[in-house]
């Protein structure tokens, strides 16, 4: 997996899946849904986020519902990785299942909006360009590495289905 480099978008604690994928846009296309991602917290985010940018949350990032559109909206906007002090359990699983690296980063509070970050999700290495700080965190769990390396659960299931005799 290649290095992820981009600007940091910093959010606070308890960012829930309802604000990442608002119910009002459930029946709309994924493009439309993604345009409203996190607008209740930061209206500029969906407009200005660039491919490779990194979302940095506080505690319990992705708390709430099982809606996978929360994780998909972020991948749709090109977000390269999500770092947070802790994650809501279903969001965490969803993110990895869509090939979006999610790392528990106890030092998330030291990141400022717009900081340039470089993340090695496999090794668990986070570099903050401005301050020069380098953090080591737990990388992607070993039992999920093959799945995330394959690009997520779907590509991984494809490999598995194709391996089995028909």
């Amino acid at each position: 997996m290649k290095l992820i480099e981009g600007r940091a978008w910093v959010f606070g604690d308890d960012i829930n899946t309802d604000v990442m994928a608002p119910g009002l846009y459930f029946k709309a296309s994924m493009e439309e849904m993604a345009r409203h991602c996190l607008e209740a917290i930061n209206p500029a985010f969906a407009r200005e986020v660039r491919p490779g940018d990194i979302v940095v949350g506080g505690r319990n990032f992705g708390v709430g519902s099982a809606r996978e559109q929360a994780a998909i909206a972020l991948t749709h906007l090109g977000v390269g990785a999500v770092l947070a002090m802790s994650f809501g359990r279903i969001f965490y699983r969803n993110a990895l299942n869509f090939g979006l690296p999610a790392l528990v980063f106890p030092g998330a509070a030291t990141v400022r909006p717009g900081d340039r970050l470089r993340v090695d999700a496999v090794a668990g290495r986070i570099e903050i360009a401005g301050s020069g700080a380098v953090h080591t965190v737990a990388g992607i769990p070993a039992h999920l590495m093959a799945m995330v390396e394959a690009g997520g659960l779907m590509p991984w299931l494809k490999l598995r289905v194709n391996k089995e005799p028909h």
Binding site: D14, N16, D18, V19, P22, G23, L24, F26, K27, E39, A40, R59, N60, V63, G64, S65, A66, R67, E68, A71, S86, F87, G88, R89, I90, R93, N94, N97, F98, P141, H143, G152, L153, M154, L157, K158, R160, V161
Partner: protein, 421 residues
């Protein structure tokens, strides 16, 4: 070595002699709940892409509840696709517009103690009231389950939450749930909340389901209640003869808990969660100046038959305040039917309530009852995140059905204890 109920179920489902907290295991799924929201419409295209069918249609329960009844062409298409999926894969347990999935599982007696179940919805934890392990996952993972019949779990630690004493009149399980959101916080990842103690033992299965439902708000892996006579009674009422080993699915005496909390229900006041978080809760007294535009009785957690009974108790001989609207969306068709038969609906509608169709509705801004900018709502649902029930500036307060009904009568947030004999 003594084991918790969760460890016993995960060991059985993963085929290991024993499992310990932290251990990652792959479990065989006994039952998978799919809903119209994250079900066929998201999963079927993926199955087509993979060129495979489902592993076992007999282990799948499919319910249309989020987009029912259709309010536009898009929701109609989702419901149609859900029906086609059920027919295509011969899913016998398909409940089309019969109620909210989590409640239907209980009404149908489809969950049994010791089971390992998954659902494509975060409130799947509700099923844990039957002494089984049932947790929620995203549609992408349910796709994996449908293909392989398996899912990975990191064995959670168990936190025991004991309640003793008797509730004051007008105080119910929902008040406990809102109290715990504040007391234990919403960040209980990697933990199962096992509810017990005298207060929980004395609860009906429907009230226990409120506790396990809102384990989702507490951020827990899931919630559960050990099986007892109440559980078996509920299964018999649904026409299922419980298995002979049903009562063995309990934590062993001396099992290791990550923490044990002891609370007393005796002095618990009705609780309110203020916008925009279930953890933003406190006793009702601190909110009595809050004027209410809409009072909502709805959702899996808050519109079961037992909840409708609470509402009728308060509304009997009273009327909804001018300038306030009370909307009631029963959680299932059988709850609605029973409430019609026993006079509950007559009491509720005579008081001026507006009856809505069964389904998730306004709970997640999917159906009727959505809020306008800056409107204030008191709701028997489980989440009040910003924008969840409509406009971003809408203010949603969470409370028990008793408190919602009392507030509808008062036109402002009110203490139900003043409305009950």
């Amino acid at each position: 070595m003594p084991r918790t109920l969760t460890e016993k179920i995960l060991a059985r489902a993963s085929g290991h002699p024993r499992v310990s907290p932290g251990e990652i295991v792959t479990c065989r799924v006994d039952l998978a709940l799919l809903l119209d929201s994250g079900g066929p419409r998201r999963i079927w295209p993926r199955l087509k892409e993979l060129g495979v069918g489902v592993w076992d249609p007999e282990r799948i329960v499919l319910c249309s509840d989020h987009f029912t009844p259709a309010v536009d062409a898009e929701s109609a298409a989702i419901l149609k696709l859900t029906r086609e999926f059920a027919a295509h894969f011969s899913i016998r347990r398909f409940f089309d517009m019969r109620g909210i999935g989590h409640v239907l599982l209980a009404e149908q007696g489809l969950l049994t103690p010791g089971m390992f179940a998954v659902g494509g919805d975060s409130h799947s934890s509700m099923g844990g009231a039957f002494g089984c392990f049932m947790a929620g996952f995203g549609a992408i993972e349910l796709t994996g389950v449908l293909v392989t019949g398996e899912i990975w779990i990191q064995t959670p630690e168990t936190v025991r939450v004991n309640w003793s004493g008797h509730f004051a009149r007008g105080v119910v399980a929902k008040d406990i749930a809102l109290f715990l959101c504040r007391e234990l916080g919403m960040e209980n990842g990697g933990r199962v909340l096992e509810y017990g103690g005298e207060t929980v033992r004395n609860m009906s299965i429907w009230e226990r389901m409120v506790l396990t439902n809102m384990a989702a708000e507490l951020g827990a892996e899931t919630g559960l209640v050990e099986a007892d006579e109440v559980t078996l009674q509920a299964l018999r009422a649904a026409g299922r003869g419980p298995a002979t080993d049903a009562l063995d699915w309990r934590s062993d005496p001396g099992a290791r808990y990550a923490a044990v909390h002891d609370f007393s229900a005796t002095d618990l006041a009705p609780q309110i969660a203020a916008p925009h978080s279930p953890a933003n809760s406190g006793p009702v007294g601190s909110f009595d100046s809050v004027r209410v535009d809409q009072a909502y009785i709805g959702a899996c957690v808050g519109a079961k038959l037992s909840d409708l009974h609470m509402v009728a108790e308060v509304l009997k001989g009273r009327s909804v305040a001018r300038g306030t609207r009370l909307l009631v969306a029963p959680a299932s068709v059988s709850a609605m039917t029973a409430a019609a038969a026993d006079g509950t609906l007559a009491t509720i509608t005579a008081a001026g309530a507006y009856l809505l169709p069964t389904g998730c509705g306004a709970c997640a801004a999917l159906g009727a009852g959505v809020l306008a900018e800056n409107e204030v709502c008191i709701s028997s649902t489980n989440r009040n995140f910003r924008g969840r029930m409509g406009a971003n500036s809408a203010q949603v307060y969470l409370a028990s059905p008793y408190t919602v009904a009392a507030s509808a009568v008062a036109g402002r947030i009110a203490d139900p204890r003043e409305f009950l004999p």
